[in-house]
Amino acid sequence: MKIFPFKTVKNRSLFSGHVAIGLVFLFLLLGPILTLHDHTSQDLSDSLQAPSSSHWMGTDYYGRDVFSRLVYGGRITWTVAILSTFIAVLIGTVTGLFSAYWGGWFDLVVMRLVDVMLAFPRLFVVLLIIGLGASSINLLIWALALFSWMEIARIVRSEVMSKKNLAYVKSARALGFGTPRILFKHILPNILSPVIVSSVLLISTIILVESGLSFLGLGIQAPNASWGSILNDGKIDPLGTWWLSVPAGFLILTTVVGFNLIGDGLQKQFDPKKSL
């Protein structure tokens, strides 16, 4: 049986991941053009309608169009995930770079901080921060980012440790170049592969955490939507109001699997020793 239809595609995980993420991205991009309904406008007379020609994915308890809520909710989920990942990767990369390159007491302090922060379970700390502060998208993004940079810092540190004593880095030092130039021009471009892979995997982790938080009612607050909060809407009667939970769950699943496949695919792509 032919499981994979494209024989010419060597890196199947990367290809499948791109297809999955590409489809979800198209849905989020073109969604507003396809729907006439506002994702926040309520119509209680239209409450909990099953999918029909006027509401393609039905309506929720307040009569809001689920299709447009999935589109706008997805945009928020993706924005939160991508921005948090970006901030986390930035913090992790810079700390990892300097920690490994300078070494000594700076490295010791930074790495113990990483150990301490990794000891906290991310979901519960983020829950606490959001619970204590006013729940906003900005706070959510920062809370997720500040508890996600440590893995990246560790990866970057170990990569820099393996590169900083290579002859081309020593030559750059001997030419009189300063630390920032050596780090960002000579070392960083050569350690990007594992950073990119873990960043992509981090996006899917953060999507899951954000969806979990919103499912618990602590993430994105009404009238805004996120896939997690739409899942939550469907939890009272998952079978009776399947159009609330199934499409949101499917989109979360597709996105997470898609990013994980891209991560796996990139790992294979960057590793010359592994056959694709």
Binding site: S171, G176, G178, P189
Partner: protein
């Protein structure tokens, strides 16, 4: 070259002692292993001073210390009468271009993500980049086409020539040659040695050559020090060393070189 300058030391290493930390059983005590023990030597302007010894005897540690990559436990390293070990990091950075290394592993010596042109231009001032790049390539016997290549597209000999060209781009006074031709095949090694001889003459360079191979040292060096277990056993002018070795270890190295 100016006579008086020729008789001045460009580099003077006195009582150099280098130690490396090693793991102790259980990791409770801080143990060290000496790599270089009480090494002293002078290198004069325009000469080639060679250190010969087996792998792990501490030769490369001396180069690392001169470059400032390893902090010696004691001793002084005077370059043009300035003690490199007392310089501030800012002053050391300013002085660094005058001392350039050429490492053994040419495959690791060039940034794999940079084109050859960018590697050569990097240390040059903007307004001189094009003219000087051409001159540098000509001085190591390579053509302009190579500028757009990445290091992995070059042969071993070409890479080592680019390493030399990059070192020359900052107009150094002293080249530290750490086994410069060990990883090359014989014909390429001969070409690189010939290139080094001509560069030394044309650019008035001083060499510190480190090698385990006396046949390479014979082609380049004026004076030779023989090193074993972190210590200098003897240092003499090349001809004297070959004809009249004082130490049995030196004699063994010479015998091995003549009758392999």
């Amino acid at each position: 070259m100016n006579y008086t300058r020729q008789h001045q030391p460009i580099l003077e290493v006195n009582s150099l002692h280098i130690e490396y930390p090693i793991n102790s059983p259980g990791g409770f005590r801080r143990l060290t292993k000496p790599a270089v023990i009480d090494v002293s030597f002078k290198i004069f302007f325009g000469e080639c001073f060679a250190i010969v010894g087996e792998s792990g005897c501490g030769k490369s540690s001396i180069i690392e210390a001169i470059l400032g990559f390893v902090r010696p436990k004691s001793g002084t390293i005077l370059f043009e009468k300035q003690n490199l070990l007392n310089l501030s990091s800012k002053n050391l950075r300013k002085l660094r271009p005058k001392i350039q290394p050429v490492f053994q592993d040419y495959n690791q010596a060039l940034n794999p993500r940079m084109r050859i042109g960018d590697i050569l231009r990097e240390a040059l001032p903007n307004h001189l980049q094009d003219s000087q790049t051409d001159q540098l390539l000509a001085s190591v016997g390579l053509s302009r086409e190579i500028l757009n290549y990445f290091p992995h597209q070059l042969s071993g000999g070409q890479k080592q020539r680019i390493v030399l060209a990059r070192a020359l781009s900052v107009k150094p006074a002293l080249l530290l040659l750490d086994e410069p031709v060990t990883s090359q095949d014989l014909s390429v090694a001969v070409q690189i040695v010939e290139l080094l001889i001509s560069l030394r003459e044309i650019k008035h360079l001083t060499f510190l050559l480190v090698s385990h191979n006396l046949s390479i040292v014979q082609l380049l060096a004026d004076r030779v020090a023989v090193m074993k277990n972190g210590q200098f056993l003897e240092q003499q002018p090349l001809a004297q060393l070959l004809n009249n070795p004082r130490h049995i270890y030196t004699k063994n190295i010479i015998d091995q070189t003549i009758t392999p």
